[in-house]
């Protein structure tokens, strides 16, 4: 704890803030000190701790002082911690809260979470050592400290060497990954070029190409993730895969739909289906494309798109227009209703409740009162009491 110095907390020229986290306690090794609740800031050059109640109380330690860091998982009643092992303080360090300390490490307790992100960022900064290439206003004692450190504590040298090797290996892995990625992208680019030329040929020979070949081509494009503007007009965006998917969906969604009054928004369907699948999840586009085919395949469900753009799945047997008549009765009983109140009464989601009320309005059964307080619906007396 004696490695820390008082500071204003302002960042120097050339120093940038990387991440910050509230609710962090600073401990001197195993002992608690008065730095109980503060904001911990990580910059490219230093680790700074500022008291949440008293902003004047602000201390910092240069990142160059850090030997290595460890994570301590949270336990019962204990928050997650990061343990920061430090070099001994340099002789010309600025004055700090402690003159001496029997520990060569400090603990950061993350009382309000944020430990994973902070640990990652701190490791990155320590690995990248950006403070060496970005000199700030303060005199940087980097090399001197590590020299002094090496002479005094031999055990630490071994740890540092291991860190260095780990860093080199990670760097190598990453650059290898990026190289392979570039090569892969080159090949992908060739595929895109080829598909474009085929798409052009199709456009020229419109009508000459068989349905079978178009379907094959579309599935190729789907595999690559290329948009297919040409075939979309002729046969829609669906493929064999989507047709099978539509049939599966009809099976899966029958019961949930009945439980929810015969109608579900597409977001609910997306969550339900993907949660059930666990692996090999559906993309939103897959879901939409499959649902578009429901009606043409004579399945007991259908996709319905409201004027506002909201998309729902409903049972064939579900008739929204009948529902509207019921809605009108409910509104008349209560005099007037907003979408929230209606949703609560009937037991459906607010989104769908709003759609039903809007549909009722479109059919002329309800009138709206649009004010600062919100949107309220009344029975349309103009029509009934002329």
């Amino acid at each position: 704890m004696d490695r820390f110095s008082w500071t204003t907390g302002l960042l120097e020229l050339g120093e940038t803030l990387v991440v910050q986290q509230r609710g962090v306690r600073l401990s001197d090794g195993e002992e608690k000190v008065k730095f109980d609740s503060g904001v911990l800031l990580l910059s490219t050059h230093r680790l700074i701790w500022r008291d949440q109640k008293n902003h004047e109380c602000c201390i910092a330690v240069p990142l160059s002082q850090i030997v290595f860091i460890e994570e301590q998982a949270a336990g019962i009643g204990k928050s997650a911690k990061i343990v920061v092992h430090l070099h001994p303080a340099s002789s010309n360090k600025e004055p700090g809260p402690f003159q001496s300390s029997k520990y060569s490490y400090v603990k950061l307790s993350f009382k309000e979470h944020g430990q994973i992100e902070f640990y990652r960022r701190l490791s990155e900064e320590i690995t990248q050592r950006r403070w060496e290439s970005m000199p700030t206003g303060q005199a940087m004692q980097v090399n001197k400290d590590s020299q002094a450190g090496r002479i005094r504590a031999v055990g630490i040298v071994g740890i540092e060497r291991k860190l260095e090797e780990k860093r080199k290996e990670t760097d190598k892995n990453i650059s290898e990954a990026f190289e392979d990625l570039s090569k892969l992208m080159e090949k992908a680019k060739e595929m895109v070029e080829l598909s474009k030329s085929i798409a052009n040929k199709i456009k020229e020979k419109q009508g000459d190409i068989t349905e079978d070949e178009t379907i094959r081509f579309k599935s190729y494009l789907l595999s690559m993730g290329i948009a297919n503007p040409v075939t979309r007009e002729t046969y829609g965006s669906g493929t064999q895969y989507h047709m099978q998917l539509a049939k599966q969906l009809a099976g899966i969604l029958q019961t949930p739909l009945e439980e929810r009054g015969g109608i579900m928004s597409l977001t609910e369907v997306y969550c339900l289906v993907n949660r059930a699948r666990g692996l090999e999840l559906l993309s939103p586009e897959d879901l939409v494309n499959a649902c578009k085919m429901l009606e043409s395949l004579n399945l007991p469900l259908r996709l319905r798109i409201f004027d506002s753009g909201v998309m729902v799945i409903e049972l064939q047997s579900h008739n929204e227009e009948e529902m509207v008549a019921a809605a009108l009765e409910t509104v008349s009983e209560k005099g007037s209703l907003t979408a929230d109140e209606f949703a609560k009464l009937v037991g459906m989601s607010v989104l769908l409740a709003k759609e039903r009320l809007l549909l009722a309005e479109k059919m002329g059964h309800l009138c709206r009162d649009d004010s600062v307080e919100g949107l309220r619906f009344y029975p349309n007396l103009f029509l009934t009491q002329s």
């Binding site: 998982a73 997650a80 979470h113 944020g114 994973i116 992100e117 990652r120 892995n173 990453i174 290898e176 990954a177 990026f178 392979d180 990625l181 570039s182 892969l184 992208m185 090949k187 992908a188 680019k189 060739e190 595929m191 895109v192 080829l194 598909s195 085929i198 070949e213 094959r216 081509f217 190729y220 789907l222 595999s223 690559m224 993730g225 290329i226 948009a227 895969y241 928004s265 597409l266 977001t267 997306y270 969550c271 993907n274 949660r275 692996l279 090999e280 999840l281 559906l282 993309s283 939103p284 586009e285 897959d286 879901l287 939409v288 798109i305 506002s308 753009g309 909201v310 998309m311 989104l351």
Partner: protein
């Protein structure tokens, strides 16, 4: 067309080789994912278009983003009664990370934005509003007209 089919098979093999070496990297590193997305966009490929695409099947990119989509929807629904369907990107990130648990992979702001862009297809009002230096995520289909948007941006 058959030529394309052959080329696709070759490509698939290359992709599998890549995946066996680097699949972990995609799940682990937001920086790698970002680079990957940029390169795909540069050549006109959308790796998230379909769960049946090569990218999703072989590399597993799809599952990461689709699951993130589900988590985003759940967070927004849970908090809707508090914040009326508008949430900052930072808070969304915190809540999603909290829900993912201690041992889950890290999620960057870019990851969230991409997942949300895909969710828009579902038609239920997911929108992204630039405010100040960051973004607000809207999860209800209320139309924010120009006045509302300006007020939001000024309130930053």
């Amino acid at each position: 067309l058959s030529q394309m089919s052959k080329q696709l098979e070759t490509f698939r093999t290359h992709l599998q080789a890549f995946a066996s070496k680097h699949k972990q990297e995609i799940r682990r590193s937001p920086a790698f994912r970002l680079q990957f997305q940029h390169m795909c966009a540069a050549i006109g490929v959308d790796p998230l278009a379909s769960g049946k695409g090569f990218w999703a099947e072989v590399l597993g990119v799809g599952d990461f983003y689709y699951e993130l989509g589900v988590q985003i929807i759940e967070v927004c629904l849970a908090l809707r009664h508090c914040n009326g369907g508008l949430i900052t990107l930072e808070e969304l990130q915190q809540q999603v990370l909290r829900g993912r648990g201690k041992f889950a992979q890290d999620v960057s702001a870019d990851d969230l934005l991409r997942a949300i862009k895909k969710l828009k297809v579902l038609g239920s009002g997911f929108g992204i509003i630039p405010v100040g230096g960051t973004f607000l995520v809207q999860s209800v289909p209320a139309e924010l007209n120009m006045d509302h948007t300006v007020v939001l941006q000024l309130a930053e």
